[in-house]
Symmetry: D3
Subunit: 139 residues, 6 copies
Amino acid sequence: MPTVYITRKSHFNAAHRLHNPDKSDDWNKATFGSCNNANWHGHNYVLEVTVAGEPDPTTGYVLDLSILSRILNERVIEHLDHKNLNLDVPFLKGILPSTENVVVAIWNRLVDALPAGRLHCVRLSETERNAAEYFGPDA
Amino acid sequence: MPTVYITRKSHFNAAHRLHNPDKSDDWNKATFGSCNNANWHGHNYVLEVTVAGEPDPTTGYVLDLSILSRILNERVIEHLDHKNLNLDVPFLKGILPSTENVVVAIWNRLVDALPAGRLHCVRLSETERNAAEYFGPDA
Amino acid sequence: MPTVYITRKSHFNAAHRLHNPDKSDDWNKATFGSCNNANWHGHNYVLEVTVAGEPDPTTGYVLDLSILSRILNERVIEHLDHKNLNLDVPFLKGILPSTENVVVAIWNRLVDALPAGRLHCVRLSETERNAAEYFGPDA
Amino acid sequence: MPTVYITRKSHFNAAHRLHNPDKSDDWNKATFGSCNNANWHGHNYVLEVTVAGEPDPTTGYVLDLSILSRILNERVIEHLDHKNLNLDVPFLKGILPSTENVVVAIWNRLVDALPAGRLHCVRLSETERNAAEYFGPDA
Amino acid sequence: MPTVYITRKSHFNAAHRLHNPDKSDDWNKATFGSCNNANWHGHNYVLEVTVAGEPDPTTGYVLDLSILSRILNERVIEHLDHKNLNLDVPFLKGILPSTENVVVAIWNRLVDALPAGRLHCVRLSETERNAAEYFGPDA
Amino acid sequence: MPTVYITRKSHFNAAHRLHNPDKSDDWNKATFGSCNNANWHGHNYVLEVTVAGEPDPTTGYVLDLSILSRILNERVIEHLDHKNLNLDVPFLKGILPSTENVVVAIWNRLVDALPAGRLHCVRLSETERNAAEYFGPDA
């Protein structure tokens, strides 16, 4: 049976700041530049989640996208949309919210909510020009 | 010699309906919701076809895109554009036209029209937010 | 006080067919070509609605976009999304569903749901390449 | 001589919060919902500035876009990019940073930096779906 | 009867160079910078043409888009696509090919091919960030 | 530690021509059609470069994007933007500038400027519809 990959695109708008609290303000400013702005800045993040599987012969679905949407909303979007990634999100606590670190955290939020081995890729775009992708710890 | 992947994007506008004729109307309505609408709905589908190969030293081409375009038009686009995917398309006969099933059917339409092993990926977007990809039965 | 124009973009996916029932099948085929396909085709329509007004000094809003979204959903989107524009939509009854005619019909659905003189423009894109705009009967 | 309109698109990423400090927290929460989040949220703003004029016969330019870019950067982008619109921007001090109010403020920043009567429109998109346009106090 | 505006988007890929042959090389270099590159550069131009009119009661069309497409191809696209705007295009002879000048020249190519008073706007984008619009000599 | 893939998108505007100087003009015209136009044509190229790695625990970065941007500008963009790919670019000398050949050449320009094994993919889009990807000689 064929493996097909389906992708669902979602959005959230959040504030953040790149800042390592274990380092000095000077180090943070030198390392992160304007991304370290003390009063935050923000983005329209674009989240693309890819799930692999064989289409069900009865429905034609790898996974009902309304189920995937519900999982994405309940596990990720509701916790990040119109929030501050440094302050407001329990599952990002202690994580420096670079796109790289956030995409791994989103994978970890989703992997257990889906059947084993089905989550294939999480892609997070911070801007039109910058994105990070994660294929899990075994990829 | 290097392997390069070229991708050609095409479009078609079609009507469809998610409906399994072996199941009751109630099951179909419960399973597919508004996608089961009796009088159809439709989409601007976006089709991306990726072909792998070594660039020809004389032309610089993996495959002349005017040839690839002709194959896509003759084998796929002319059969799907401004059509009803449930009723009008011989190569989709008996196939529930979910994005997943259609992308596999398009692969099967294309694979024999290209040199063996060269078709790499078919990606079909139903909307800006939903897409399916297929890399063939051996991937 | 300044006049500012706010625009809200929405989407709906619908089937339709260009067909004038007062004319012969031959005339329809000659006039509308593949858009006349008997079994319908469809589009991901993009709807942009622009409202004019002075920002409220207390809220900064010309119009609360959550109110505008609700109006758009209740008056337009719920009636068109995952529907057949020729068969399923009472407010399009008897209207040949060209983009031009549909955009005028959407204006007429919205104009009374907004304060007098505030609806400025309705824009409807049928594809990436084709769109129609309407500024009301007095423009 | 013909009047031509040229448009330059720019971007900035900023944090903000919709909050009227003259009102109670309850009123703000009820009025602005998640946009009132105490710890801010943010956007990738898209700014489009349109300037009108006759093309110069010697250069073909209505206005050299490198000059327009410099004006946009010096007057607007450098003050808003990677900033907090409520806290960090002198020219937004005391202004509730709705898209409507910010677009008027950007017009006011630009109008004196351009020859009289040449600034035609400022358009600011907060997200893919929401935008505000301003054509000046006399439009 | 209502006036509706329809817009058709087309594309052409062309080389050009900003260079005024009546001026010195130094003046050209100082004025146009990298756009003056002696061996040309190029763009994927996007052309949007807007036509105004009342929808025909029999067809629902302001203007049959297949007719508009044919006019655009015959009068504009075939003459500009895969061409050099400075060297290959009779209707641009002697015109410095800034976006502003080209958009006026395209208007002049189209206005007589359409019914009087129906051409409303020509918009030409040189890049994602730069565009010029022209509404005719009387606007 | 997880491997994350970051992608940076850049742009350059260039002229080119598909022409094999070892072949006759007739062969070139028959093979490349309008892409062989003697006076060149051009494109807004979009370049996407993907780098793999483990996020640094101190910065959260796979690679500081300001460093990646500098490398892209110094090694690639400054040499291609507003240039003629056939005439102006030393690292393309003797290379027929098809998208396939240019994407391999860009990989070769970048691979030594990045830590060993970190460059994952170079993607070059010539138009909205045509793109080439390269994953290196060992992929």
